[in-house]
């Protein structure tokens, strides 16, 4: 017997939602926002677990610190990725709050005229995104230098 229609929706799902290829710049920022959000959640869980060792006494805390130190450069790389995630997620989150709660950077409703250029994705939005990228990259490089300095490499 023939199926009436395909049982699953065509090309939907988590991985598909994270694929911005061919779409607009804002969809790339969306994907990065989701990924950095997951990194921050994982970090928070690990951080709470780390802090929990404080309650177990000084020996347990020293052991945790020793374990983290034994990771060497990987600990710093991990911290650098977390710093980048926090910077991007925070800065892009501010842009989204401006958009969503205050209706800013969207432009006013207009009479659509061909060729259609949606004002919500136009100049103001792009300026905000590029500004975020420049600030985040600059601060992220600074965070990297700070971490390398802490290791005594520079």
């Amino acid at each position: 017997m023939e199926k009436e229609k395909e049982e699953k929706r065509y090309k939907s799902g988590l991985l598909r939602s994270l694929r911005p290829y061919k779409f607009n710049l804002e969809r790339y920022t969306y994907t990065l926002h989701r990924i950095t959000g997951v990194i921050l959640i994982l970090y928070l869980i690990a951080h709470v677990f780390e802090i929990y060792h404080l309650a177990l006494g000084p020996v347990a805390w020293q052991q945790t610190m020793a374990l983290l130190s034994s990771l060497g450069i990987w600990e710093k790389i991990g911290l650098w990725i977390i710093a980048g995630s926090a910077l991007y997620h925070g800065a892009n989150g501010l842009r989204l709050i401006l958009n969503e709660a205050f209706g800013m950077l969207l432009g006013k409703p207009v009479l659509p005229e061909y060729p259609y250029t949606p004002t919500s994705l136009s100049r103001n939005q792009k300026i905000a995104i590029y500004t975020i990228v420049v600030i985040v990259v600059a601060l992220w490089i600074w965070a990297g230098i700070y971490l390398l300095w802490g290791l005594g490499i520079i």
Binding site: Y10, S17, K22, E26, Y30, G103, P112, P118, L121
Partner: protein
């Protein structure tokens, strides 16, 4: 030109290649009609107006949702075309998708004029007046042709099948922004929900692919603002009172406009 189409016959799905004669001025819909006429009459796709007004021929063309009738071969700038049914919908056959959920979501936001006193709609003595400035606040969102491309582009629809989607939310805002409408409180229950307006994370892909310039992403962000305002401050978008809406007849002593001249210049 090589055309690669994702087929589905009710049993199995497969990719099929066609070699078709094509001119640069042809649209993708022309190519599909040519395939059906000359190569394969079993190919299924929707079409109606062929001029970007009905929204029937939405499909994914080279990875981007678009209307087949509005996409010219020359614009694609590729040697071959890859056609797929719209993402995030269940496929019925070949390029035809099931739009039942889409239409139900649209209906769920009550996309019609709501007045607290329905008699005003039935027995209005004159037309309900809207100034050009008021009209401009919602007319952009009125251009929706329900092609469904925005839901195919939306990453949130991809992970949440219950999300109302850009089309329904934009239509909700279209009526909420209309000064003649008083249905905000009726609609807010469905809009202010985890599958409603707050599920949108502003990826903007809906506005990017919209073939009519409706800009659903903008409407949704405005809608969030209105819902927030209502929930936090108990302020809702002001709707106009019936007395202001109804165009008053001119006073009896008003000068009469000159009679319309039906004469055509140069005619007898």
């Amino acid at each position: 030109m090589k055309v690669r189409i994702r087929r589905f016959d009710g049993q199995k799905a497969w990719w099929q290649d066609y070699e078709v004669d094509a001119k640069p001025s042809d649209t993708v819909l022309d190519i599909l009609n040519r395939i059906r006429e000359k190569h394969d009459h079993t190919l299924a796709f929707r079409q109606s107006c062929q001029m970007g007004s009905c929204g029937s021929c939405g499909m994914v063309i080279n990875g981007l949702p678009a209307l087949a009738c509005q996409t010219r071969i020359s614009e694609l700038k590729t040697e071959s075309i890859r056609l797929e049914p719209l993402y995030n919908y269940k496929v019925i056959k070949d390029l035809v998708v099931d739009l039942t959920d889409f239409v139900n979501k649209h209906r769920s936001v009550k996309p019609w004029m709501i007045r607290k006193n329905p008699q005003e709609l039935e027995e209005a003595p004159m037309e309900f007046k809207v100034t050009p400035d008021q009209n401009l606040t919602f007319v952009q969102f009125d251009y929706c042709i329900m092609c469904g491309l925005c839901l195919a582009a939306c990453p949130t629809v991809a992970i949440d099948p219950l999300f109302l989607g850009p089309q329904a939310l934009a239509q909700a805002y279209r009526y909420i922004a209309d000064p003649r409408d008083e249905g905000f409180e009726e609609r807010i229950e469905i809009l202010d929900d985890s599958h409603g307006v707050w599920r949108c994370h502003f990826a903007g892909a809906c506005s990017y692919v919209c073939p009519k310039g409706v800009d659903p992403a903008k409407a949704i962000q405005y809608l969030k603002k209105e819902v927030l305002k209502y929930r936090l401050l108990h302020k809702k978008k002001a709707s106009v009172k019936p007395a202001e809406l109804i165009q008053k007849p001119p006073p009896a002593n008003a000068p009469k406009p000159p009679p319309f001249d039906f004469k055509i210049e140069g005619g007898e």
